[in-house]
């Protein structure tokens, strides 16, 4: 998929809450001796944070880099599975807080962990078709895992925002193309009214994550006439440390190309924010001319693959907002009891 007119990223921003809980602390709580912890630690939203505040923080930084009048943004889409309201848009909350005008298309997306990148594609389409001058896509979550479940070790909070506009000297990277792959594969789900998601254990691997990520990535490369060696950096959805590294290996991509965007060991799986935050962290280090592969994954299941080429404007715009690594370094550890309080796990 390519827009008729070339589209690029005019601004981007990431945000990760300050609180962390170590996987070993969760393991201590549930009697896990530490042999199989999937990450080191994960980011925890504070008691005064939710998905919309995280989205707002990321969007604010994206606007700082974009250097545009917020009123020129014609659309805002937020991908998340932790919307504060079951019925009531989150995008309107964030747009109002950002000072984006009211002549606005706003919608929330849901597709497990890939809702953020679906927002990318919608924005690219709107800008590419001329229906919007600028459009903002946000992937953000305060993901929840059932206490003691495997997911509790990784389900984390964070998000990233991207503003798309027509390719110009002001865009920090342009979109070469995108490709999606979706099937009815029930590896992870949460029914209405349930507080925590269910998942199908090892089924989430080969027939779910790897099948969709690899198929979408290969199709994108085929359509663009590119090979794994043509990419300088790669970002995959990061449900744990192992999966993105294995996906890279399967595609023949050197693991070094993942390093800047591989955030999961230190912040966990930020669900809809996961691959967008990885992309933001990669843009923080990429040089003009670099090509970035990004592949999201959402259970249920599907993947969106993108190829971005970094432009000269990255040098000027990068310092205008904090890099993702600034949020990685700024952290306060909490114990399980505090985490349980912050995340509303105790009934009162």
């Amino acid at each position: 998929m390519k827009p008729i007119r070339p589209v690029g990223i005019v601004g981007y921003g990431g945000y990760v809450p300050i609180y962390r809980i170590k996987a070993s602390e969760i393991g201590r709580m549930w009697g896990n001796d530490g042999c199989s912890l999937p990450i080191v630690e994960k980011a925890v939203a504070g008691p005064d944070e939710d998905m919309t505040t995280i989205a707002y923080e990321a969007a604010r930084y994206a606007l700082m880099r974009a250097k545009i009048d917020p009123c020129e943004i014609g659309a805002i889409f937020i991908g998340s599975e932790s919307k504060p309201y079951a019925v009531k848009p989150s995008g309107t909350i964030v747009a109002e807080a950002l000072g984006i005008g009211s002549h606005l298309l706003a919608a929330d997306y849901e597709f497990a962990c890939k809702a953020g990148t679906e927002a990318f594609q919608t924005c690219i389409g709107l800008v590419g078709s001329g229906m919007a001058k600028y459009a903002m896509a946000i992937g953000a979550d305060t993901a929840q895992g059932r206490p003691a479940d495997d997911l509790e070790y990784t389900a984390a909070s964070g998000g990233a925002a991207f503003i798309f506009g027509l390719r110009s000297d002001e865009t920090v990277a342009y979109v070469e193309g995108s490709c999606s792959y979706a099937t009815d594969t029930a590896d992870f789900w949460r029914r209405a009214g349930q507080p925590y998601p269910c998942h199908f254990g090892r089924f989430t691997g080969k027939p779910a994550y790897f099948r969709h990520v690899i198929t979408a990535a290969r199709k994108l490369m085929e359509e663009l006439g590119l090979g794994p060696e043509d990419f300088d950096w790669a970002v995959f959805h990061q449900p744990n440390t192992k999966f993105p590294l294995k996906a890279a290996k399967m595609l023949g991509i050197d693991r070094k190309k993942l390093e800047p965007g591989l955030l999961v060991p230190y912040i966990g799986n930020t669900y809809s924010g996961s691959s967008p935050l990885g992309l933001a962290a990669t843009l923080d280090v990429a040089q003009p001319g670099d090509r970035i592969l990004m592949v999201s994954y959402g259970s249920g299941a599907g993947s969106d693959a993108f190829s971005f080429v970094v432009q000269d404007a990255i040098e000027e715009k990068r310092p205008l907002a904090p890099p993702v690594k600034a949020f990685l370094a700024k952290k306060k550890y909490v114990d399980y009891a505090t985490y349980a309080r912050f995340r509303g796990k105790l009934l009162r």
Binding site: N32, D33, C35, S36, F200, F203
Partner: protein, 389 residues
């Protein structure tokens, strides 16, 4: 039952996570391989061993469905259910069918698909093989019971856990050369000891994995066997013995009376003593269970079974080769299929088709498949065609 049946065809699927295949499709694949191996003769009866398809796969009546899928209209179709001994018990029933004068070949199939449900459900269903009144409702799992046995064994006999897990290491070494194995690679003792704790002191790499699979053998009456195969394998004995279903009421937790009785009867039927057996396919839910089996078979004194593994005596090429194609740990343990995997693997050995794992001069093999932990044991003694008793 003895001496009246011969195996003329075998087949199996790889043990693993067969997300794309149903329980029935797995059974069909193994059955067609076994039939093809024997020249696809008309079959008069099929016996299907399966532990829990109604709970795990929302599908019962597997024998009739399999007959239909295979196009075997008008045959006798029987489903056999005895937990994770269902496969060997299906083979046993098929042998009885031959002994009763079956008019044609009989197909024995074992199949299980465990990956249709979450691991917690697999553990729950596996516990249903034990006495619900005394064991299941306590909340303990099969690995939990194995942990109790492991602690008791190491405390009573002075063996270390490190010694015991050499049984699992032996399984993996043999599985490395079995293309149908779930885990076809060797592992070191350290890898077992560093794997996640499942039930203290039992570690993950000491427990049989969760996998799907199906295995099948085609039986004919011994006197007709050469018509179907150049190298038929004799079933010299097929015994099934109920043990003590209630784990907590056993006189000694470190004995397995069902195996002892089944093996004694089988050897007597075959006119053999244990030293006549060239290799063993044993039911090792975890290492301690395999070690106890060595002792029940009389290969070692009580409390000495672990030494056989430590001294290398259960390796291929040694005195008592055990689990020559990987056993429950290496090849995998798809419950109702396990007993028939053992029969398929023993047939490969006796035909000289075991490749790098061939036990030189193998003439007689013994298989032991068990339900739960000593609820029921099936022992088969299989022999090369030339062996007569």
């Amino acid at each position: 039952m003895s001496g009246q049946a011969a195996i003329v065809g075998v087949g199996c699927t790889k043990v693993g996570e067969h997300w794309e295949l149903s329980v029935l499709e797995l059974a069909v694949e193994a059955s067609l391989k076994a039939l093809d191996d024997a020249g696809s003769p008309p079959v008069s009866a099929i016996y299907v061993g399966n532990a829990a398809s109604e709970v795990l796969n929302e599908q019962g009546n597997l024998a009739v469905l399999l007959a239909d899928e295979l196009g075997l209209r008008g045959v006798k179709a029987v489903e056999v259910r005895a937990g994770d001994a269902s496969g060997a018990l299906a083979l046993h029933q098929a042998c009885l069918e031959m002994a009763a004068g079956s008019r044609g070949p009989v197909l024995a199939v074992g199949v299980e698909k465990l990956t249709d449900v979450m691991i917690q459900e697999v553990e729950r269903v596996q516990m249903l093989f034990e006495d619900a009144r005394a064991t299941f409702h306590s909340g303990i799992t099969i690995p939990g019971l194995c942990a109790l046995l492991t602690r008791l064994y190491t405390q009573r006999y002075g063996a270390s856990y490190e010694d015991l897990v050499l049984f699992a290491v032996n399984d993996h070494r043999n599985a490395a050369n079995n293309k149908y194995a779930q885990y076809p690679f060797p592992i070191a003792v350290e890898a077992v000891l560093n794997s996640p704790l499942v039930a203290d002191p039992v570690r993950l790499f000491d427990t049989a994995g969760v996998g799907d699979g199906a295995a099948a053998v085609l039986l004919v009456r011994a006197e007709e066997a050469r018509r179907f195969s150049d190298a038929p394998v004799r079933v010299l004995a097929s015994e099934a013995v109920a043990g003590e279903a209630c784990f907590s009421s056993r006189e000694d937790l470190l004995s397995m009376s069902s195996l002892r009785k089944a093996a004694t009867r089988a050897l007597k039927r075959a006119g053999m003593v244990i030293k006549d057996v060239d290799f063993f396919e044993l039911h090792n839910t975890t290492s301690v269970v395999g070690v106890l089996a060595l002792e029940e078979l009389g290969l070692a004194e009580r409390g000495e079974g672990w030494r056989l593994a430590r001294e290398g005596q259960i390796a291929i090429g040694a005195d008592w080769p055990v689990n020559t194609m990987g056993g429950l740990k290496g090849r995998g343990h798809p419950w109702g299929a396990t007993g028939l995997y053992q029969a398929v693997e023993a047939t490969w050995q006796l035909r000289g088709e075991a490749g790098k794992n061939q036990v030189e001069g193998a003439e007689v093999g013994l298989t032991h498949n068990m339900c739960g932990l000593d609820s029921l044991s099936c022992v088969h003694i299989l022999a090369r065609w030339e062996v007569r008793t």
